[in-house]
Symmetry: C2
Subunit: 402 residues, 2 copies
């Protein structure tokens, strides 16, 4: 095969295992990254629980283990437009996978600086990518990592369709059927930027015919893929802190180190989940099933199951004996919601979903246990709050607040 794929943000939590998975599958991978996620660690005075190696070390290890070359370009997608454009002209990639956005909701809510960084970085990164593809006149398929959070949760009580919603609109004493982009209801500044991305995709697809797949991903759990497990130098990052850690991984890690499981609010929030291995599988399927020329933006729900946070905590508590503690919710969100998600598109492409199973849960607990000496327990609780008037809770209790 001689097919180029550019992975924007290919050094990150989803980007790195995706880059390896696609390289293994035979694609020629170029990672573009400004290493911003590693630099944010410095500012947050926190780091991956797993000892990730520098990007050059990672790439060298992959080469020596598999013989496969991955190219790395240090480039800020949100600000170095011309360098990005030139790269696209040169490589003529079949696909660009776009992970180059600040991806944590709590981080995006920390302060005006963090809100503004998230908006500026994410909007300009996506727009520069679309603009450069258009300007290059290459027929590139853009695959973007979005989030289930663009939908809000549980709107109108029906299963969430894949991006578009059929509605009836009153028109001249009659009702007309139209299909619209699912109405956006973002829950944080981070999620808001993804709803703004959707409008850019809609526009560039309409005006310039850009082929785009937008993946509305659930909360990722797990850390390793078959590729990252080949050598410790390839290990994926594992975030356990209150800003970047995702909820299920946080629970598993807390169980491993003997910290109470930190449930915020009642735990009645229902969320959609996906294992990191299925993130990689889905992106490969998305690349291999591109929209046709002239097709509207393809929106796929990239999630395999839904759970309430409370039930996850109870399950892990039963597995491990960990205590559950309920903390005041620093987010502004519904305390309880139902959620059901359509994911027919990926199932039809052949996805065989990995769902919660004891083996994979244990694998995460084992990883967390192996590196627990690297944990700074002061970083475990969430410190970002959605509004100034929300009071943080550092004690928690055995029952949710009434």
């Amino acid at each position: 095969m001689d097919e180029n794929i550019i992975v924007l943000g290919g050094d990150g939590f989803c980007g790195w295992p995706t880059s390896l998975g696609l390289s293994k599958a035979g694609y020629d991978i170029t990672i573009v990254d400004n290493l911003s996620r590693r630099k944010i660690d410095i500012d947050l005075e926190c780091e991956s629980l797993t000892p990730i190696t520098p990007i050059s070390t990672r790439i060298k290890a992959w080469k020596s283990l598999t013989g496969k070359e991955i190219q790395f370009i240090h480039l800020d997608v949100s600000s170095q437009y011309h360098k990005l454009y030139t790269l696209i002209r040169e490589l003529k990639p079949m696909s660009i996978v776009h992970f180059a956005e600040q991806r944590a909701a709590p981080y995006s809510m920390k302060s005006p600086f963090h809100k503004r960084y998230t908006v500026d970085n994410n909007i300009n990164a996506t727009h520069n990518t679309l603009c450069a593809i258009t300007e290059s006149e290459e027929d590139v398929h853009l695959v973007h990592l979005g989030t289930m959070g663009v939908y809000g949760y549980g709107t109108a009580g029906m299963p969430i369709p894949e991006g578009y919603l059929k509605v009836k609109v009153e028109c001249k004493q009659d009702f007309k059927d139209i299909e619209i982009l699912y109405p956006a209801n973002p829950g944080s500044i981070y999620h808001m930027t993804k709803t703004q991305d959707a409008l850019m995709f809609y526009y560039y697809n309409k005006n310039d015919g850009t082929r785009i797949t937008d993946l509305h991903q659930g909360i990722v759990w797990g850390t390793n893929t078959p590729e990252t497990m080949l050598d410790e130098a390839l290990i994926n990052r594992f975030d356990y802190d209150g800003d970047y850690g995702t909820v299920l991984n946080r629970f598993l890690m807390q169980a491993a180190i003997g910290h109470p499981l930190t449930v915020h609010g009642t735990g009645g929030q229902t969320r959609a989940f996906i294992h990191i291995r299925d993130t990689v599988n889905c992106i490969k399927l998305a690349i291999e099933n591109p929209p046709a020329r002239g097709e509207r933006v393809r929106i796929l729900n990239q999630a395999t199951e839904t759970h309430t946070l409370r039930n996850l905590a109870v399950m892990i508590s039963e597995m491990t004996g960990a205590q559950i503690r309920y903390y005041a919710n620093p987010r502004k969100e519904d305390s309880e919601n139902t959620l059901s998600v359509c994911n027919e598109n990926f199932l039809n492409m052949g996805l065989n979903p990995i769902t919660l199973n004891e083996g994979l849960l244990t694998e995460v607990i084992d990883i967390a246990g192996k590196y627990k000496n690297r944990c700074d327990t002061s970083k475990i609780l969430c410190t970002s709050k959605w509004r100034r008037d929300i009071v943080l809770d550092t004690e928690g209790s055995l029952e949710p607040a009434g």
Copy 2:
């Protein structure tokens, strides 16, 4: 009265007459502007047909004529966050009127640079304003100039409601009534940024309770208001070029200098219009009728009538004897559409719409005639095109292309 209003972009085509109108009404006005519109003139090698004076001269003239002080702060809203925040803390304005966005669709389509500037400037300007209001903890009512163009034109054939659309959604074998933000269908990068603004308003209103009025304005025509006519030093700008000129003003100016009226496409495009004096009237009404605490974003259609471009051209041709020429359309848009716009909200607040009338049309022709020696006729035709593969037409013909 001792009520502060900050006018972001108060040196521009809508901002300047609005600032004067509000100053006359007794508000204490602070204009914030980075003078970007004047600088864009330099890059485009074009200038206002009317000889506008520097901002300090304008403000001094206003003071000497009326005794009223207007403060000017040179500040880039899209990049100087802390200065903006400090100003809000200091002035505690009742309202901020936000015109600080790049406002021309053709300019936004000229090149990757112009696309990227428009996105970066407009999104960051709006977000910084929202973020600074939230951070200030002042109860500021934000009044934003949006555009009718967020709706697309003629969707589903019914009159365009004011921002929200009632739809029926299928849910468990039944239909549920919900009200959603009117589905966005932007026609240019510029319009796209306004649809992205709408999502920021939705989010900040939901999370932080920010009181916001978003004005979906039609195409502005006319140039003078009673205030700008008081003295030549107060004259408003008049754009006639293919990038910044608005269609009706361009026709009137073309008639005044004996240039054929430049209709793009068939002229069957229907658009909504408003006179600059009603822009000022509407903004004053919006300020004086703010949403209550806890109210959702108030969206008002700020337009008083709709016309096809063809009919406008025929009317002006009949008034003046000007020839009409049809040029290939550099935009990607429907060649013909119907459009009907609800504007009940402003009517209920007491707006007495100024509609097309010979007196006001003649006033524009007179202004254009008075300053026609300042016209660079090479700037009249549109040179921005919506896609690379569109072929510009510099000849035109007496009939639209078939």
